[in-house]
């Protein structure tokens, strides 16, 4: 049994690399999209605010699995052909983006209005106000929930296995298909996911402590 699992380790490692790669792509892309849309939600004109609100509430209201199937099966039907890998990344990114929008809204909303008004009074432009006054203060509030959300991205990436992408989850199922050693392999997989996510949540706890001097 151990021999078979040892034999499969390089294959599992490849799957694990895909898991990390998917998670990284999703985290980075959703950060960029989410911050931009979040700024649109807080500062944009009414139509933009409504559009972002509807986007965020819709995405957060449906199961991530439905979103993945919708993107994967739905896009080719309307003539958009994406590789399954990118369809999965797109779906997970949409999901995460909606969360980042809410983190940003919460973080920026926690900055007293007087800060923006003071910045306006000394003649800073909108961009300067964001870059020098609002974002540096909001950053500390944004960071802990966002890092916590990174573990969700890693866990969510396991769903790409359902599209036949050989991430860690899919690699495990394939090895089980050949060796019939279901329990040891699922436990091994659980331990790997646990190690990554637990390390991430420890990091977020440490960051939270570091910024715990902020009081309102």
């Amino acid at each position: 049994m151990l021999g078979q699992i040892a034999y499969a380790l390089p294959f599992l490692a490849q799957g694990f690399a895909v898991t990390l790669w998917v998670s990284l792509l999703v985290v980075v892309l959703s950060l960029v999209a989410g911050v931009m849309m979040g700024v649109g939600l807080v500062y944009g004109p009414a139509p933009l605010r409504w559009a972002v609100r509807i986007f965020s509430d819709t995405i957060r209201g449906i199961p991530i699995l439905v979103l993945i199937f919708f993107v994967y099966y739905g896009l080719p039907a309307v003539g958009i052909h994406l590789e399954s890998f990118w369809a999965a990344v797109l779906a997970l990114t949409l999901f995460k983006t909606a969360q980042v929008i809410e983190y940003l809204r919460g973080a920026v909303g926690s900055i007293p209005k007087g800060q923006s008004e003071a910045a306006m009074a000394i003649g800073l432009t909108f961009r300067q106000r964001l870059a020098y006054v609002v974002f540096p203060q909001a950053f500390r509030r944004f960071l802990p929930p966002w890092i916590n959300g990174v573990t969700d991205a890693v866990k969510g990436s396991a769903l790409v296995s359902l599209l036949g992408i050989t991430d860690l989850m899919h690699a495990i199922n394939q090895v089980i298909g050949r060796t019939y050693e279901a329990m040891p392999l699922y436990i091994l997989g659980a331990v790997i996911y646990f190690a990554v996510n637990y390390a991430l949540s420890l990091a977020s706890r440490r960051l939270e402590q570091r910024f715990s001097f902020i009081r309102e």
Binding site: P63, V66, A77, V78, M169, A182, G189, F194, Y198
Partner: protein
């Protein structure tokens, strides 16, 4: 873009979606009920227990929270029966998994709720001569439940969405119904539009109803 929407095949197979939605709700309700029992028990045990028990409960909570739900679902359905001599249907297996899953989240919710009960209430209970058990049942738990109600409703709604994972072990809930129609009729865009609307409508209706309940309980005190 040569795609024309045609919902006829969706309505003809709507029983698959409707039955799926009801099953999703059923799975969520049963799982949160068991999850609440697990969460309450472990939270009460945690706050009064020694170091070893605390470490054990913390290990359970951290393990569940840091492993993907889909892996837990596979582990319980395909893995467990290979090492212990038990047999269960996919549905029962999923309910067990989701209960353990929600239980882990609820231990945390209830534990912080118990800690948030004002000291003065417990002292007042002592002062009128209640035993520790009476203080727990009549003072700490009711206050704790009122404090944790919003977190409980959020957990329930996210569990309702998590029931979609049951489709991977062929439990015929809503997402499974969607896939069935997807593969058998190829009205792909239509079926996911309808299912998205069903999840959204149900989720927000639940949210609204639960907020009403929360308001009532807050108003009473």
């Amino acid at each position: 873009m040569g795609y024309t929407l045609n919902f006829n095949l969706i309505w003809r197979n709507f029983d698959k979606l409707w039955g799926g939605l009801l099953l999703s709700l059923e799975l969520a309700v049963i799982s949160i009920a068991i999850g609440i029992a697990i969460g309450l028990l472990l939270a009460v045990w945690y706050v009064s227990a020694g170091r070893v028990v605390r470490a054990g409960i913390a290990a359970y909570v951290e393990f569940i929270r840091n492993v993907p739900l889909i892996l837990l679902v596979y582990l319980v359905f395909y893995g467990l029966p290979t090492v212990v001599d038990i047999a269960y249907s996919a549905q029962i297996s999923f309910i067990a998994t989701l209960s353990l899953y929600s239980g882990a989240y609820l231990v945390e919710v209830f534990r912080s709720g118990l800690e948030a009960v004002p000291r003065g209430q417990i002292d007042a209970g002592k002062a009128i001569g209640l035993t520790p058990w009476q203080r727990l049942v009549h003072v700490r738990l009711p206050t704790m439940l009122r404090i944790t109600l919003p977190a409980l409703s959020n957990t329930f709604i996210s569990l309702f969405k998590d029931t979609s994972i049951a489709s991977v072990i062929s439990v015929p809930e809503l997402t499974y119904g969607a896939q069935w129609i997807n593969f058998n009729t190829f009205r792909i865009v239509e079926v996911y539009l309808v299912v998205t609307a069903m999840y959204l409508f149900t989720g927000y209706a639940l949210l609204y109803a639960l907020r009403l309940v929360e308001r009532r309980f807050r108003a009473a005190h």
